[in-house]
């Protein structure tokens, strides 16, 4: 018999951070399922592409079930049901049940405004493991204006309460920008009052809809510094009580983010129409052809072999200054979608990086926009967006 030793803090490793998984392009642990682009909210920073999939293109119930079974079979452990608004799909309970039966950990990423208590209870019974509700602020006025949906904030608070009453774990997702960052202390308190387990303080990332709305959303440097200070203080104060995940906007950084953990390394998502994508904004890069689950290829094949996944994998595709950069395998040149949106070539260095020739220009532009007086939103919808009335802004 030998002694038992339990390393006190090293006993838990985050699998996703293990190099081996990333280097062999093993099947990702978690997959984002954007089961519809339909949504009653019109948030101006929506992460969906500007060209939304209409309902007629969405995968059918049976097609999604086949996808879920296949994901479980190839080793995916978690699925996030997202959108659009996933509860806009009438078959959501059926899909969650199917995923649970296949052994998948299921997470619902929702705006909550379409949920009834009965439906939430049905989802819990179907095996739903976790609920994430987005909030746009802490009071009706601002929150409903950002979402472009009257009565939304109140409904969200109610659904958050039901979530905890049904003993489902809750994440509060707060998307932050210039017009609501002043509410952050109250948002942290709201997460506590709602008995959330986790809070995401997610600064807007500027692609697609958010890029169109950048002048109305970009925070000032001072706001961002204060935001970081508040998050760090709250993390320490609420250790063991509330987990806080923090996403910063990268325009003000010197080093770009390791977007999606690197293209095609740890993550993929499936669009409403069944396209398998390296990230939810990837369709904004023109000239890339994404394979669909409706094709003759398996999901594992698409992940490993499709042209779109291999195009920006690793470092072989890089140009200077990335190519010879000592950080090339740390951040993989930042975000391909941002590089495409701001430079017209996805293989360029993400301008968020200080080594990009465009960094200075972009930084100055962001700073100027943040100090500007544009506050009107271009609301997200299927018609290509609707500008907020001047009286409301």
């Amino acid at each position: 018999m030998s002694d038992v030793t339990i390393p006190p803090s090293d006993s838990l490793a985050v699998l996703e951070k293990q190099r081996s998984t990333a280097e062999t392009f093993g099947i990702p642990l978690a997959v984002l399922l954007e089961i519809t682009h339909r949504c009653p909210l019109q948030c101006p920073y929506c992460s969906n592409p500007v060209e939304l999939d209409r309902s007629g293109k969405e995968l059918t119930t049976d097609e999604w079930k086949k996808v879920l079974s296949e994901l479980a079979e190839i080793g995916v452990l978690q699925v996030h049901f997202s959108g659009g608004e996933p509860t806009a799909r009438k078959d959501l309970v059926e899909l969650v049940k199917h995923a649970s039966d296949a052994g998948l950990y299921t997470n619902l990423i929702t705006s909550a405004v379409l949920l009834t208590r009965e439906r939430l209870s049905d989802l819990a019974d179907a095996g739903l493991c976790h609920v994430q509700i987005s909030f746009q602020g802490i009071e009706d006025g601002l929150a409903d204006r950002v979402a472009g949906y009257k009565g939304g904030h109140r409904k969200k608070l109610e659904v958050a309460k039901w979530t905890r009453e049904l003993d489902l774990p809750l994440t509060v997702n707060a998307v932050m920008h210039r017009q609501n960052l002043h509410q952050l202390p109250d948002i942290i308190q709201m997460a506590l009052d709602l008995d959330a387990d986790r809070l995401e303080v997610a600064n807007v990332q500027y692609y697609g809809w958010a890029l169109k709305n950048r002048a109305a959303l970009m925070p000032t440097v001072a706001q961002l510094d204060e935001c970081t200070r508040l998050v760090e203080e709250a993390r320490e104060r609420l250790k063991g009580r509330l987990t806080i995940d923090y996403v910063v906007p990268d325009y003000y950084a010197l080093r770009p983010k390791k977007c999606m953990g690197g293209w095609g390394r740890q993550f993929f998502n499936i669009s409403p129409a069944g396209k398998v994508l390296p990230c939810h904004a990837a369709e904004s890069i023109t000239g890339l052809d994404f394979e669909s689950v409706r094709s003759n290829h398996s999901i594992a094949w698409i992940w490993q072999n499709s042209e779109a996944f291999n195009r920006y994998r690793g470092t072989g595709w890089m140009k200077e200054p990335c190519k010879s950069c000592e950080f090339r395998e740390i951040d993989f040149g930042g975000c391909r979608c941002q590089a495409f949106a701001l430079t017209g070539d996805a293989a360029n260095t993400d301008p968020a990086c200080a080594l990009s020739p465009l960094h200075e220009t972009i930084f100055k532009q962001a700073e100027a926009e943040a100090e500007g007086d544009t506050s009107r939103f271009l609301y997200r919808n299927f018609a290509g967006g609707t500008l907020e009335s001047e009286n409301d802004a």
Partner: protein, 103 residues
């Protein structure tokens, strides 16, 4: 409702994984994992054994007793290790505890 947060693990506490954290054997990668929102943890062998013993009935002392019997190691050392491991999990938000219901 789930148990209160801010747990301080002691010999008397009866820890369990919270509902949002699931212990599962990953057949593809041949490892045990704890699944939680946006996170996947890979507990080592001993952590898995401890967590399987934490069923909400046993307290930490009982769990240590089981391990003492199995590995014939000094109870004091095992207890300290088990508490440290569980406290680490609790601080990361992956542990809750059963308390007597107050009505």
């Amino acid at each position: 409702m789930a148990g209160p947060r801010n747990i301080s693990v002691s010999e008397a506490s009866r820890p369990v994984l919270p509902r949002h954290a699931k212990l599962k054997y990953d057949e593809t990668r041949k490892v045990w994992v704890i699944l939680a929102p946006e996170r996947v943890l890979a507990p080592d062998e001993i952590a898995v054994e401890v967590l399987q013993l934490c069923n909400g009935e046993r307290n930490v002392g009982d769990v240590a007793d089981q391990l003492v019997a199995k590995y014939a190691a000094p109870r004091e050392a095992i207890l300290a290790d088990v508490i440290a491991m569980l406290q680490d999990l609790a601080d990361k938000g992956f542990l809750t505890e059963i308390r007597e219901k107050t009505s």
